[in-house]
Symmetry: C2
Subunit: 482 residues, 2 copies
């Protein structure tokens, strides 16, 4: 770790979430600011998390036969313009290459903000018959959206993501895929990130430019704001009609393919950091932590360093052989205390300490990152204890975040109540809404809260809009958002 | 497979290498042309190869502690200009973003052609003491170099690659890293791609813009042209001095970091396709083939399809459990013969056929893709036979390519001989060269052959330059190149 620091120098999460967030991301060496405004460098420790996400998600996609591929970075502006809603949605955010190879380009090239247009131009070339369907392709790549206000991981002008793009024979296959992707996103967040999410349908205003319907998963951050963590779009036949992805059906007719697209980005990591950290740094859930256990030998000047280091190595091997991701911190400086702090900032779930005393007692000291709880165990019980601890920490992080989310999800029966919540604790609000875009806009203007989603399983009810009082049939989820 | 075709429609490798190459890449569905000139789509079957390369290479890098990270796509033009040789080398090939978010940019952004400048600006921020070294970072990303003449995989305006960038305390560590990377590239090519390579040092003219010394591995293609397959650069202190990557040494002085950079791109896959294919399509070496064995049930109209498919599934399981990558082709059309052709075009190393006859005899028919050899084996011997075959094919592809390379590596004692070789068979030429750049340029102009490399272990000799007759101490390798 390059930047050495005292614990007291860390910004406090309990005092200012935003200052803390930037501070711990830099100090945990997850990322750093890059020379171009709004961009960042994802450092090895942060990138290792993204590699784990890739592994997890590749495995999930494989169960449905989705394969990875790579499509070009540059999209001719003329191609992007084909789907009117789509280009309208993305136009303000585009980065455009106008000069290449020393010459001014006739048709400027847009740096992809997303790849629907270029991918579907290819799909049209590849699909002729129902036998060519489904097309199930994903790509892991970088995209660019020129944002005015940026924020590490959560909103950067360039970000990494996966974008899945499928084409199907039937509307049913299409919907199955949309919901499968949504379920994968839920699993990544809840089962690995320990970040509880709600999921549902976006309003017409908030849906993806060009989609028939957008599904979203959203998490609640500690400041009571929602984070849209991933989206899955039912594109229907909107794009296939524009790009001519047409096929001969099984019964000899012609039809346009039914399509989906779905994406999750490095933004999700931002949600993870915000959710679990504390005043001592980030806290990484064991299932995705690049280092799950750090072993720190406590060397004494006149001690038997050789035996101590051999023991550390032996412990490392025992744990590694059982699939635990371990690091032994062999540095002689900075001081042990400082190094404890460093690993805490980096959010390593479990710290093992071993010194002369432990050596002679044949014990090891374990410290939980999430609670700070310290325990001494016999060496032969180490593996079992570590495995149990990792499991406990994972479960406990989720439970804690879920409690916060549940405590901060409220029903608002009146607009007064709605405004009161949004100007104090914030959080998710469940409220009837008439589904009129003008009404939605007014609520947003007055309370900064937007519609987040209509839960997938929301039942129809009889109610009146929390803002305008007109008849409403669904309770929507509202929140201020990142 | 979408494009159905007759075998006879395939272009012949034996007639025209270049036409064949493009044809099989399209028909094997490895890649396709994309809407922007000079770019391509890497389709799932081609991308699976790249994913395997990533796996293999990540494993190699880990042995030296190199970690993956991600740096931004856009480099401010002003930053790129810092290293004079470097910017001069890349300027003609740059793609430049001049407009973003609807506004003209004051400092245009270059789409990275390589990442030395942006990475080293960060390294300067991170390195203060010898304790911060080494920095061992790699990234897998996309880069853009605006090329006039493009060629699928071998030269596209955008390509995927890995770029490793390290910073060290000493010149010795630096050289160790340069050679380690070169050795990894050799292993990827020889041990996995079955592509024999020669390796050595680039001439001053041919070295990387900004490097102190460039090491290269080069393979010989079937048309007698060399392919530069990967390079590893000793940057010395060139960049660290310009970017200020300075550190306090162990003995309390200040020094600039010693650096390396090294890269291998999707171009290497092009070399692989060119090397092993034949008139029936590409041939993929078993170690990297996404599908190593394809099982094709030969169904009869009145046959017992259920038993046949159950048998196929059982064979798949037996092979998969032993780590063989298997696909069962369950399609009912096109015809079996056509499907044989399709899998041949895709270069799957081994084909298994099983029909009524094999069912009742408890045998399986195996066909080798590289030789076309057909054999019938008892079911219980299948696994052993497949494993042996995969091994044999890997070895035999390498041996065949190596023989071609050796047969086409010639000594040229005179310039007449040199010219004669280059205007007929081509291939590698070993010849004395005076190491004068003007002489090198003339040779290139007159024979299209450039210096490829000076072998790492070349001994000093007494000779005269094959072109100008002046004293020369080394035999260099010359070739025409891609």
């Amino acid at each position: 770790m390059n930047q050495q620091f005292e614990k007291k120098e860390l910004k406090k999460k309990s005092e200012n979430l935003s200052d803390w967030y930037t501070d711990v991301i830099l100090k945990a060496e997850l990322a750093d600011y890059a020379p171009v405004k709004g961009t960042m460098v994802i450092r090895p420790y942060g990138y290792a998390l993204w590699e784990t996400v890739q592994e997890i998600f590749n495995r999930m996609m494989k169960t449905k036969g989705v394969e990875n591929a790579y499509f070009p970075l540059f999209i001719p502006h003329s191609l992007l313009e084909k789907e009117k809603e789509h280009v309208k949605g993305f136009s303000p955010e585009l980065a455009v290459v106008t000069v290449a190879g020393g010459e001014k380009l006739k048709d400027p090239l847009v740096v992809r903000p997303t790849s629907e247009t270029i991918m579907y131009a290819m799909y049209a070339k590849w699909v002729h018959s129902w036998r060519d369907l489904p097309i199930l392709i994903n790509q892991w790549n970088n995209v660019v959206r020129w944002e005015k206000r940026t924020y590490m991981f959560l909103r950067t002008t360039e970000f990494l993501w996966q974008e899945g793009h499928t084409a199907h024979e039937t509307e049913k296959d299409d919907m199955d895929m949309v919901l499968a992707a949504l379920e994968w996103y839920r699993q990544v967040h809840e089962d690995y990130f320990a970040v509880p999410v709600i999921y549902g349908i976006k309003s017409e205003t908030e849906k993806f430019a060009g989609a028939k319907r957008t599904y979203t998963i959203e998490a609640l951050m500690p400041d009571g704001k929602a984070l849209q963590a991933a989206t899955s779009h039912n594109l229907g036949q909107n794009f296939s009609k524009v790009f001519g992805i047409q096929f001969a059906t099984r019964d000899g007719k012609m039809d346009f393919a039914w399509q989906t697209s779905w994406g999750m980005s490095t933004r999700a990591l931002g949600g993870l950091f915000l959710t679990h950290g504390d005043d001592n740094g980030v806290i990484l859930p064991p299932k995705i932590a690049p280092v799950q256990v750090v072993i720190i030998p406590i060397r004494k000047k006149d001690g038997d360093a050789k035996t101590l280091l051999a023991r550390c190595d032996e412990l490392r091997e025992t744990l590694t052989n059982s699939g635990v991701r371990v690091k032994v911190d062999l540095r002689e400086e900075p001081s042990v205390g400082r190094r404890f702090n460093e690993w805490e900032v980096k959010g390593v779930p479990v710290r093992l300490e071993i010194g002369e005393r432990e050596l002679s007692a044949d014990t090891i000291v374990l410290v939980r990152r999430d609670t700070g709880e310290k325990m001494t165990v016999a060496r032969k019980e180490l593996l079992m204890t570590v495995q149990k601890l990792l499991n406990d920490i994972q479960t406990s992080l989720f439970a804690k975040a879920k409690k916060f989310r549940d405590d901060n999800t409220r029903d608002a029966g009146s607009y007064e109540e709605f405004k009161k919540i949004m100007s104090s604790t914030r959080g998710f609000i469940r409220a009837f809404w008439c589904e009129d875009a003008a009404c939605e806009a007014t609520i947003k203007e007055e309370t900064k809260a937007s519609t987040r989603l209509l839960p997938v399983k929301a039942k129809e009810e009889k109610g009146t809009c929390v803002h305008c009082g007109k008849p409403a049939v669904h309770r929507w989820i509202f929140a201020q958002s990142y």
